[in-house]
Symmetry: C2
Subunit: 257 residues, 2 copies
């Protein structure tokens, strides 16, 4: 029985869009598979680069789909950015955002103050993610603050953001690319495939990488990043990747399953 | 006297901001030097990557400063984009613009039709330059049209745009970088330091590169591009470059004077 008690807890991290659901519809089998994994005692986490929504939003959405989820199981790139800044003394400091309400909500929860669109008070960070209300004035303000020395943080570098009908719109990475080009400053990036998201989950849960599994649909982000940390990885074919493409993946993007 | 008659006409191409004027003020000596060069029979051209204003605007501005100039002496990146498209059968075709009024004016003069912000009619080109009224909706529309196959043309890749008090705001290149990141498509670039601007001036005037002089303030655009075509180059120190920096320039950016 000693072996059984020492068996490490298994953490399973799921990407959301293309893995658990597409848009507002759960993927076939997802609800029952997640329920079975939860009943078997595994710890489930949901990891998304989406910077526009709060953790509470995703917990509500999953719960309404029949996947009972607490906000503490949800890890978004804005939440991670808040954690990253808080760990480095960012509480009480001021950030100018190129992003949406969910980003502001997560940064406030981490103790970061949100800087206004004007004024001469010092600003410590410029945090950038998808902003579907982006204007040139906002871009120019972010540019000026980075030039004046604010640290430039990218919640994610996603090229696109999926919308209805399989269409895509420019993602948070497009806003980051614009400011990197104009300022000549390279952003610190928080989201997948950077290691911080998985490091944060491993540190929070206290499990070893070998006892954690990442389930995603993008080899170049979900598999690549988790594998580099020594986690096990599974690629689902319900998202952006088709079966015949798997054989041609470079070794570092090839999943265990 | 045969030698004299066969002496080729000399063309002198001036960058504008930082070379002829700064903002709305002529640089010291510029008005009298340009008048003397004109009296000596040289053909003067003014070449700017600025995509937001028409050639007529610059001719008026220079004339008001005491430098009598016709629109035909002014070469902007939007004008060049119109020429580039016209030379490739673009007259009568449709372009969606991320840019300002001056860009629309120059493209219309080249026979290109300007596409509206919505509608399902086919669009042949997406032309991008500085747009101080940029919105996310405009970026998303440009993204979608490029994804559907419209050719992606950058009037210029300038990182910044100088404004009053020595401040800078994000340039046309920032808009280009955002769309290149989101679409994964690399734009065809028209402006300096690409060769097209000088090729156009040389072809229009019929002079050999060795008989043309480029006068600019940026080694990495003004000198580099003109020198590659075999033109002579002069770097002025009234703009962004300081004297002590010239000795450290790589060979391909080192001016003749």
């Amino acid at each position: 029985m000693a072996d059984r008690r020492r068996r490490p807890r298994v953490v399973i991290v799921f990407d959301l869009d293309g893995v658990v659901y597409r848009g507002d519809t759960p993927l076939p089998g997802a609800v029952s598979a997640l329920a079975a994994l939860s009943r078997a005692g595994h710890s489930l986490y949901f990891l998304t680069n989406n910077s526009t929504r709060s953790r509470a939003h995703y917990a509500d959405k999953l719960t309404r789909m029949g996947i009972p989820t607490g906000a503490e199981q949800v890890v978004t790139s804005s939440y991670l950015t808040g954690r990253y800044l808080a760990e480095r003394g960012g509480a009480g400091k001021r950030a100018y955002l190129v992003g949406e309400h969910g980003m502001a909500e997560e940064l406030r929860l981490a103790g970061v103050e949100i800087a206004p669109d004007d004024g001469d008070e010092p600003v410590d960070y410029v945090v950038v993610g998808l902003d579907r209300n982006l204007t040139y004035a906002r871009l120019a303000r972010a540019h000026e603050l980075i030039q004046r020395g604010a640290r430039f943080i990218a919640t994610n570098r996603d090229a696109t953001y999926p919308v209805e009908d399989g269409r895509e719109i420019p993602g948070g990475g497009a806003m980051v690319a614009a400011l990197e080009h104009s300022t000549g400053v390279r952003a610190v990036t928080i989201g997948k495939p950077e290691p911080y998201p998985w490091r944060h989950i491993l540190a929070t849960t206290g499990v070893a990488p070998a006892d954690a599994l990442m389930v995603g649909d993008r080899p170049e982000t979900d598999v690549l990043g988790a594998k580099r940390l020594g986690m096990r990885t599974a690629l689902v074919l319900t998202g952006v990747t088709r079966g015949e493409a798997v054989a041609n993946l470079p070794e570092e993007q090839r999943p265990d399953a």
